[in-house]
């Protein structure tokens, strides 16, 4: 009966959405806590596991370093890079402070990860632009960190906008500017369009959202499938009605890899497991609250775009269990594999019962 998500009650067209994105969040915290390295190229991560950067600061980015880059490559590009170990507890603590700042302006907060969140400030009398500036200022004063903000009538545009004046800046897409803004926006910027889809579209002569707007719905559906085709038709026009959801109980967490070349053998697929597993573990560490999962699953997409998923109950990430799932999934179709994904499923969120109030003496 009760839906656990609370949605903005205002009509979609009049919404004021802010997307706040912390600038190089982890690296910024490391530089703040060790000012002696703040002016140097700093990367976070890379000490353990398969050795990739979790993130790096702007100084390191000038050398071409970026997140998810293998450490050896980062060192080639920037031999003097300083590597700091990952301290998720410290990052979580800052994330909590930042969320408390958001809460001063609205209850409608949808965190996407530790370092970014959507805020629906439709109900706030102040201009969203001014709220975003106040929030960024409070974050700077209270945590010593900088944030960028995007302001728009919906989530997709707000997220694109927060990237526009990064770092430490803000940008607004006003309703009257949406059409112009979308026309020249590269399709790659759209939510859900990865490098591979972008490349496929490029082959079709589509580079900007303006190009994509030329496609009628049947063509989009023919290319992307029923559901995704319809969604893209909206997104390409800057329309996005998704509400800012405050508790979106995470049902699963997964990571997947679209392969540069389709894989023909089980062994080739198996060789991907360690890296995927490590990414999955890392993603789980980044959740603001770690929670136990109850199932693991593995997904394969075949050369003919058919998808299959195998799952089994499990409470830990055991490589051999994933290998067994892979064997099962691989055996289902005699096709080459173009995508492998791993994930975990969390227990269903229980319906929140009405709260029984108690006498004051009982609370103590």
């Amino acid at each position: 009966m009760t839906k656990s998500s609370v949605q903005a009650t205002s009509s979609p067209s009049s919404r004021k959405i802010i997307h706040i994105d912390m600038d190089c969040f982890y690296a910024a915290i490391e530089c703040r806590d060790d000012p002696s390295v703040a002016h140097l190229p700093v990367g976070v991560g890379g000490e353990s596991g398969r050795g990739v950067l979790t993130t790096c600061n702007y100084r390191a980015r000038e050398f071409g370093c970026h997140s998810a880059m293998p450490v050896f490559k980062a060192r080639q590009l920037c031999p003097q890079i300083i590597l700091k170990p990952v301290r998720f507890e410290a990052y979580r603590a800052e994330a909590r402070k930042i969320r408390a700042i958001f809460a001063r302006y609205t209850k409608l907060i949808e965190p996407l990860s530790l370092d970014e969140a959507f805020l629906d400030v439709t109900g706030h009398p102040e201009f969203a632009w001014k709220i975003a500036r106040q929030i960024r200022q409070a974050i700077r004063e209270e945590t010593g960190l900088t944030a960028s903000a995007g302001i728009a009538p919906n989530k997709m545009l707000a997220k694109i906008a927060s990237d526009w004046r990064k770092p430490d800046g803000q940008f607004a897409v006003l309703p009257k500017d949406i059409a112009t803004f979308m026309k020249d926006l590269p399709v790659r910027k759209l939510w859900g369009i990865g490098p591979k889809s972008a490349a496929l579209l490029e082959e079709q002569g589509v580079r900007t959202c303006g190009d994509l707007q030329e496609w009628p719905i049947p063509r989009l559906i023919g290319f992307f499938g029923q559901k995704w085709g319809n969604t893209l038709h909206e997104l390409a026009r800057g329309k996005d009605e998704r509400p800012v959801e405050i508790h979106r109980p995470r049902k699963s967490l997964s990571t997947e890899m679209t392969l540069p070349k389709n894989l023909e053998t089980l062994e080739e697929c198996e060789a991907l497991l360690p890296e995927l597993l490590e990414t999955l573990e890392e993603d789980m560490t980044r959740m603001i609250e770690r929670k136990p999962f109850r199932k693991i699953f593995l997904k394969l997409k075949f050369a003919d775009f058919r998808t299959t998923t195998c799952e089994r109950p499990a409470t830990n990430l055991d490589r051999s269990a994933f290998a067994e799932l892979l064997r099962e999934a691989f055996g289902r179709h005699a096709e080459a594999v173009r995508l492998v994904g791993l994930g975990v499923r969390f227990p269903e969120a229980v319906e929140v019962p009405n709260k029984q109030l108690v006498f004051p003496f009982f609370d103590r």
Binding site: M1, T2, V350, E351, V352, P353, N354, K355, Q356, L357, V358, F359, P360, F361, F362
Partner: protein, 374 residues
């Protein structure tokens, strides 16, 4: 010892003391009943160390003595004996011999010296009242006791004696029931104690005779002398119960009783109970809620759950105040309605986050905290 006793009297005496004996006692002696001869009968005593009970029944004593015997086994045997006259005798080896008609039983016992004696309370704190009145009072509050053992202070009924009144109180933190009564004998005394839930249940089982009860209490124990009245079924004098009390201080319950009445409606108790009961048929474990909404001349009771659906019940009332609604756990509304004997009850309500209060023309009230709807 050697006695002759009526089978049915013996059986009903054993039934009086049987209830508090656990089926698996922590010590064998606690599974036994102590039988002691007196001038005109025998005394039967059992205890579980927290609560002890003793009754006296008529018997012809030809040789005094005492013994302890397994009470459940003995009660089963006595009930089944073929003849109404039973001869009962013991030997030095703690064995009892029962003869009735053509039946004869030998039952193994334990020496009476091992049996923990019931204490007799020496206290000035004594109050006397008709036992049926106390039964009414206890019934009207006992459902509100807490069953949560981590809140042991609330696992009982609070007895308070002051201002010529006896007050009994029970709460589990979500509802509170209070019932007071003027006391004629002993009402000038002051004092209080918390009677454990199990003793309350046993007391309610005993309080069914047209006679008085005398309550005596100290800082550690409370004792009850329950008169057996005229139709006694062989019982003599009174049934004596002595119980430990819950140690600790009871919360200041008065602070949760609303001081002012905002809106009050008068309702037929039976009708209200039936309506809530019906509405609650569609509730689920997850949404165990009924909504009470009063508007001019109308009370609507409604419930809904995702799994089962909706229910709406309407009752005509005399009311011309503002529209008010609040949601409650249906059980918390039905419990007092089931326990009360009155035809009419009053229900008081303020808003959706304030408690609802049942009252009767007697000195009774039950405060029920609402549910906040998500």
């Amino acid at each position: 010892m050697k006695i002759t006793i009526n089978r049915d009297n013996f059986s009903s005496g054993l039934q009086q003391v049987l209830n508090l004996v656990p089926t698996k006692p922590q010590m064998p002696i606690l599974g036994n009943v102590l039988i002691v001869t007196e001038d005109d009968g025998i005394a039967l005593t059992t205890t579980n160390l927290d609560l002890g009970i003793r009754c006296r029944i008529k018997a012809e004593v030809s040789e005094p003595g005492q013994i302890t015997l397994p009470v459940r086994r003995l009660a089963n045997i006595v009930r089944e004996l073929p003849h109404s006259e039973v001869s009962f005798e013991t030997d030095d080896d703690h064995q009892a011999k029962l003869r009735s008609g053509g039946s004869s039983f030998k039952v193994m016992g334990i020496g009476e010296e091992e049996f923990p004696a019931l204490s007799t309370l020496e206290s000035e704190q004594t109050v006397v009242l008709p036992q049926l009145e106390l039964a009414d009072m206890l019934r009207s509050v006992s459902y509100a006791q807490s069953a949560d053992e981590s809140r042991f202070i609330l696992n009982g009924v609070y007895f308070k004696l002051s201002d010529q009144k006896l007050t009994v109180v029970a709460t589990d933190g979500r509802r509170l029931a209070v019932h007071s009564k003027e006391i004629e004998q002993g009402g000038e005394k002051e004092g209080s104690f918390i009677l454990p839930a199990k003793t309350v249940a046993e007391l309610l089982r005993q309080l069914n005779r047209d006679d008085n009860i005398t309550i005596t209490f100290t800082e550690r124990q409370a004792a009850f002398e329950i008169g057996v009245g005229k139709e006694s079924g062989g019982l003599l004098g009174n049934v004596y119960m002595v119980s430990k009390i819950v140690e600790g201080s009871y919360p200041n319950y008065q602070q949760v009783i609303p001081k002012e009445t905002h809106q009050r409606i008068k309702l037929e108790r039976e009708l209200l109970l039936q309506c809530i009961h019906r509405a609650a048929l569609v509730t689920s474990e997850k949404s165990n809620t009924v909504k009470m909404e009063i508007s001019p001349n109308h009370l609507e009771i409604s419930a809904r759950s995702a799994e089962f659906g909706e229910a709406h019940e309407s009752i005509a009332i005399q009311y011309d105040g503002p529209k008010i609604a609040a949601a409650f756990n249906p059980v918390f509304l039905m419990d007092p309605l089931k326990a009360l004997p009155q035809d009419d009850v009053f229900f008081e309500i303020k808003d959706d986050l304030s408690p609802g209060v049942f009252k009767t023309l007697d000195d009774f009230l039950c405060v029920v905290m609402p549910l906040r709807l998500n």
